[in-house]
Amino acid sequence: MLSFIYAAGGPATISPPTLIIDIALMAMLVVVAFAIVRMRSLFAIVMLQGVYSLMCAAWFVTLDAVDVAFTEAAVGAGISTVLMLSAMLLTDRQSAPVGAKKSLGPLLVCVLAGAAMFYAIPDMPAYGDANSPANTGPGMEYMTAAVTDVEIPNIVTAVLASYRGYDTMAETVVIFMAGLGVLLLLGLNGNAGFWQAKVQGQNIFSLTAPRTRILTSTEDKPETEPPAPDEAAPPKPKPKRKPAAAKKRAAKKPAAKKTAAKKPAAKKTGGKGSAS
């Protein structure tokens, strides 16, 4: 793929050091991608996705797209890694192996999509081509106008905030809506901001959602119910826990219940079980 682009672009536009760095980064991206596909530990996969994003950012820098690289490094390697990590902690630590029969369909899709991309490569303008649509159309008009018009050295910021101010305002509103949706659906404490339940006619109310309890096995659930965590302790007298209440909470957080047992927590519940 690289040879295609660079051969068409001509040797004059790319210096050999850049070419070497590009090829090295691309090779590392391929290696990391294969590692992600082959791995089973979700924690390692999340971390490798961050590595992938960071190398993408480095590659964008060699392409002189510094603003894109900045965003990729901050969002891709920083925030989304943490979000994936917290999502992973709610589910499982290992991904189940997929059989050969089941992976046949996705493999076909990947091969077809890859073939389509290779088919499209000759239609792409050469790297650094002065006559490409990106370098001749309205983009160039902004580039020439911004120097005398708004006198802002960073064209990206000038286009983003000044020429396309309406678009950026709508983008900000979109981010605002995303935050609003998260707040309405999940709340800041994991459950719409506060937690409440009606057990035996009594309202239990707490400012925070009860923490996920980790059980060693599903049989532990009905009898050896450990006391609720402190955050869930209601200001009102605590009613006796009934299986119905436990079931209600289990239905509320089905994914969290399935969390694989961790060692300290397992010891805790184990000790409780033997004591009772």
Binding site: A69, F70, A74, A161, N189
Partner: protein, 147 residues
């Protein structure tokens, strides 16, 4: 995570620097790479780092969740408000030139861009922290074996 003395010491030193770097990315956004969005994500990353090292409960004391609702609203209002101000000053919506008149340099453009990008910074930073709080609060603490 009380045993990680090195992590805690280093991040105590790094977190203020990350926030200052985020502000640099914002205020220098019209000269160098970056802008409100990147700055917002960097500031949010500092908050997330604090939560990862010191725990999410300590982080909620340092950055209360009530700031999130205020911050994301203030961001959008700051952005749209800049447009309204240009409107009131007699220009078109987002016509920053009317903000500050300078005969030989469009200083209003710089002022307007800083203002709207500040709005983007507020919204992006608080929404990122909101998403992290929403997911992180549901998550059990990471035990040392998992790292």
């Amino acid at each position: 995570m009380n045993s990680h003395l090195i992590l805690r010491t280093v991040s105590k030193f790094l977190i203020p620097l990350i926030v200052v770097y985020g502000l640099y990315v914002h205020f220098h956004g019209d000269f160098g790479p970056g802008g409100g969005f990147q700055a917002g994500v960097i500031v949010a990353a500092a908050v997330v780092l604090y939560a990862l090292i010191f725990g999410i409960d300590a982080c909620k004391v340092a950055v209360p969740p009530s700031w999130i609702r205020i911050g994301m609203t203030v961001g959008v209002m700051l952005f749209a408000g800049t447009g309204v101000v240009t409107w009131l000053l007699g220009g078109a919506f987002f016509d920053y030139d009317v903000l500050k008149y300078d005969p030989d340099h469009p200083a209003g453009q710089h002022l307007g861009i800083i203002c709207v990008e500040l709005g983007v910074l507020f919204t992006v930073a608080t929404v990122m922290v909101a998403i992290f709080y929403a997911f992180g609060s549901r998550t059990p603490d990471i035990s040392d074996e998992d790292w």
